[in-house]
Symmetry: D2
Subunit: 386 residues, 4 copies
């Protein structure tokens, strides 16, 4: 069992890390929302704070005064059951509260929580605080990828951090790991933290399959582009083909063809494509089409979980063929926290692994990330199976 | 093995049945397309005919002359790999070819195929003809439900057929069928026709579950409506809730509240709701929300297939919790016919069973129907599991 | 004063002429609505009939029984003050009432009106009937141009009438008619029928101007196309440029470049462009850009009206530079008939003249036609001024 | 003729005033763009600066180095003929350049221009500088109204300036000024600066009319609201009625019904409606509907110009019935500056007068402001005529 002190340190470290991520930003960078999926950094700062205020301080700290009613309104996200919220597409229209006010809000809530923990704690608080910390860690990854989108779609293409390396090299030679047909157990076990969607450890039957020991690289994907992969209807789902046509997609997100050479916007600014680095910023549709072109397929999330101890992972979120669905015996949390995961279990795909943007200790072999099939602003890549 | 004579009879019967479905129509009814998912009846007549011409007659009947180049263009559907096509949303703008011309086209192709079968046949032709017949049977169901939509959304609400009973009574008392945990086999076996998406018979591991012996009825769903089910956010997927709000959904499709009594448009015209009849014309979102409200869930397609011999089915397509995905070892047909099923295997849900609109012998225990989660114009209902 | 007999003949002739226009149609052609501005021919037949029923028979014929409540609902157009109406974009979704039923409705109302006129008449009836006849004549022009759109946008491009010549030749040599600065009178005078928007004869002050004796021809417009007119931003209004870019406009409506030769869909089917014929099917934006390119301008409606006795007109509606606004002293009719013209007096341009689709005796020197600036499905051309 | 010194002072004063307007802003307020018609304040600062750089410094200052190629790209507006531009809807997505960088850009260009003027001047420079100054003055008004929109649509409704009074009282009693029928002269005369759209002084013939000595007040408009003005179809243009329905309009912009009392967001924050103040923030559609309801009309821009010496004006832009069209003899400037006015002369209405947001000396009796008919974020009101 985690001690209060450990939890308190974990809390402080998490709060501080969010602010470290924002350190290279200009005030203006905190405000904008170039597409609906991206939130202004300011909003992430406020929303993760609001979570602690709404679910812990309001109910468990006697005499706690809400920082501002307006903030509670502005920083609620999708928790439909907790009051009115600012429509998601409107987040980028809000110049107030200012960044300074949001930081004041953060400090106020952080201090109040530290006080609470020092004076009083119980199982309920521990549980909520743990969720709150992991919630903030999830937002740290979104915060970083949203920042990349905000800067990477600005015509000035500014550098975020000249030392941030997002392109380690996938140097292993290609091997195929074989897994034998049979019954396997899936899902989280043990007492460490996990989300409700990983629970309900259960059996699945898998047939013989092979899975690659490494991720697909930029260089391999370039072959697909050069072979006309984006123009061959039959490689694509009908819906994927519509997406390619409507959005005029010809390469992964952040790729730019300049003087006939492919470049890529990174946290270090615009750079030449590194052909040995693992591919990133592709949609599920692209992952699927690439696998079709190779006459292979994506692994299911179960295959991935069973095989994962035999390969390296964590550099890129990996699209799987599995739809995001409840495990047998899945039960939502009652009340507003129950909105956390279950309500997204339709028309999304599971991604397994982790990425360079994932905070330390935030992922694990049973972690189920999920996104809609056309989204690309996360560090999303693929691993082949057959 | 099917004999040529049997196949020929099957072909003739199928062609004739399509025309029987259209018998009650006025010429004008053949032309319109009120929403993008509905095709004009004229188009179904032409498209099923084009399929035989394009895939069989053109390649296998020596000296065959295409009826009209324009028709080939107009009646192609989504087969991206076979020439230009009329954009789907434009189908309802086409007054020409006329209904009479389309019937002439049908007769021309039907006669040519009969001739071909009488003079020459081989395995390839048998295979293509079998697919063509089943393709037309699939369209028969769409044709009927499209007709319902066309007439049911006309302010005059005309009768299609005064003898067509779509509301048999679900009279059985509620019982729960228990299935024991273990390994089960899924998928088609034997030599009878099935689609490629049913193939790759394989094992799945199921946990203990119970499934209802009967479908949810109109009366039961009315309780959900009256309890404010459409207003309780937490019962819905996020995406489902958006759908309810945006589309202003308050009841199943074709339901009308008149003088405070619920009515329903049927093939017999507008009628009072039959509370003992199985519920129809709901989206997956509604099926899910109803199950949530009952604190149960929808079965998976595997649970359904394993349990189906123990209950009656075939009156209504039943939404399952399963996403429409390839079975292990699924392989697409090469070429244009490969577009048939695989390209839809993303962001759709599997429905099992059959409906009053399904042609005889067109469904089976392993049949996998599939639709997007918001569609309601098919006879779609639900069966509870827990 | 018009006699009852003359009016009756005029009424009969008008009703018959509408049906003559429809004579070449197939039943299917009556039903479709390819764009929102085009109405199904069936709807024109019903709507012009409904006008007589709603405004005359219901109020002035004792014992008159409405043909059908549903029809009154379906065939109301934009008369917001007279009951619920079918949303305009839905007209093409309605297969019922059938064409045969609409003709029955026409006959019923025509007979009832003839009876009414034979048994009883008064000033009010004469006035309403006169409006009703002119209303139907206006719809005759729309009917014909809507038919052209329906057939001309069908991939089969069917012939409407092999004898219908829409391309007379503009054979006169170019001359400039000079008008001297001064006060002129504008607007209708006399007791003949005119619309309320022509009334309020009033003075305007015109400065010296010159106006062309002839319309711009296809050949002249081809020079504009070949000179890159559609690609020169500065020739266009900002709004017009957006229209060109968004709609990807490169030529007038119905023009098709086939084997590098310009063709044009006409009532006789697809034909080579006649370079001597007056240009048609252009938007106001195109008329303006062409005049800019020629370093001239469009005439105002007042200039046109003052000069019109000195040139031939009536072949093509001519875009003017004038916005459609009320004349000084303009007063709307009270009640529903007041919706006829006044409510459109914003963001439209006046067109003067008439066209090959205009019924005999339906236009006059003071007639003010009007359309939104991007519309092209009427026979719209231009005459230069400077 | 203006002296260089006067012009230089005028230039400095104008540049300084723009920055004064921004003084109360937080950095975040400079960045957002809540609707497409509103630009981020940062963009106004940069764009007015770019204008001087692009049209004067680049061509007339020897050895001038452009501040930044990126800025030239980002701050171009609608000048289609001068290079690529940032699509207007994207302005609010740009966090960079930062506010500090934009101010640096301003200073750089201001200094360079001062230097230029001190070392060298000629007629061309004087002309361009004059236009540039007036261009910036126009943007000052937009800047202020855009700021109002940004703050007024924020849920926190922050105060901009507690001393800014936008609601002076319209205290005069209602009188009608009569103007007699005859020929009048319209348009700018003299050598003072005016825009090209005011030129071509010309004669118009006006009929007898009366025009009010005062603007319509909030209190008078409240009577219209309370009488159900927004629900009476017949008071509205067809297009206006669609606008009311689609946008769910029930009151002027910035009006809020709180505890059954009407409030209004102002530069001082949320306040009770002042019923004696002139009405503002209405669309042309509302102005027209109000006049209809009073059984009067809006004046034309010519009537306004002829009568204006007999009443007070300048508090509110006044919608007129006149469409924004070229005067007889209007000729666009050649080149990019010709894009300034002429390209907007379609589907907009002229407004006359001025407003509390108009910079000193920026309007005059012949000044023609213009907006699309549905826009309301300017200080727009109305004066009745009959």
């Amino acid at each position: 069992m985690i001690t209060t002190q450990t939890l308190l340190d974990f809390f402080k470290e998490t709060r501080a890390h969010t602010e470290t991520i924002c350190a290279p930003l200009q005030t203006e960078d905190y405000v904008v929302q170039p597409i609906v999926d991206v939130s202004p950094p300011k909003w992430h700062l406020g929303h993760t704070t609001w979570f602690f205020e709404e679910f812990i301080l309001k109910h468990h700290k006697s005499g706690y005064t809400i920082f501002s009613d307006d903030f509670a309104f502005v920083f609620n996200s999708y928790y439909e059951s907790v009051g009115k919220r600012v429509v998601r597409t409107d987040r980028g229209n809000l110049s107030r509260p200012t960044v300074a006010q949001v930081y004041a809000y953060r400090n106020y809530v952080t201090e109040a929580l530290i006080e609470l923990l020092e004076e009083n704690t119980n199982d309920e608080i521990v549980k909520l605080l743990t969720i709150g910390i992991h919630h903030e860690k999830q937002h740290q990854e979104l915060l970083l990828t949203d920042i990349k989108y905000i800067l990477g779609n600005n015509p000035l293409m500014p550098v975020y951090d000249g030392h941030f390396s997002e392109n380690s090299i996938e140097s292993q030679s290609q091997k195929w790991i074989s897994i034998t047909e049979g019954i396997y157990e899936i899902g989280h076990q043990g007492t460490d933290f996990c989300y409700d969607n990983e629970l309900g450890r259960h059996k699945v039957y898998l047939h013989d399959f092979e899975i690659s020991n490494r991720l697909v690289t930029n260089g391999e994907y370039l072959e697909f582009i050069n072979a006309g992969g984006y123009k061959q209807t039959l490689l694509w789902h009908a819906e994927g083909w519509d997406w390619v046509q409507t959005q005029k997609i010809i390469a992964p997100l952040y790729w730019h063809l300049i003087d006939n050479k492919w470049h890529q916007y990174t946290f270090k600014g615009l750079q030449k494509i590194n052909i040995e680095a693992p591919l990133a910023h592709i949609s599920y549709y692209e992952a699927f089409a690439y696998a079709q072109w190779k006459e292979m397929r994506l692994p299911t999330e179960f295959e991935w979980e069973v095989a994962q101890s035999q390969f390296n992972w964590g550099q890129r979120w990996e699209w799987t063929e599995s739809a995001y669905l409840p495990y047998p015996g899945y039960a939502k949390e009652p009340g507003a926290l129950g909105e956390y995961n279950g309500k997204f279990m339709v028309n999304q795909k599971v991604l397994r692994g982790g990425s360079v943007a994932t905070p330390t200790h935030h992922t694990r072999p049973t972690y189920r990330n999920f996104f809609q099939t056309g989204l690309r602003w996360q560090f999303t890549g693929l691993r082949l199976a057959k």
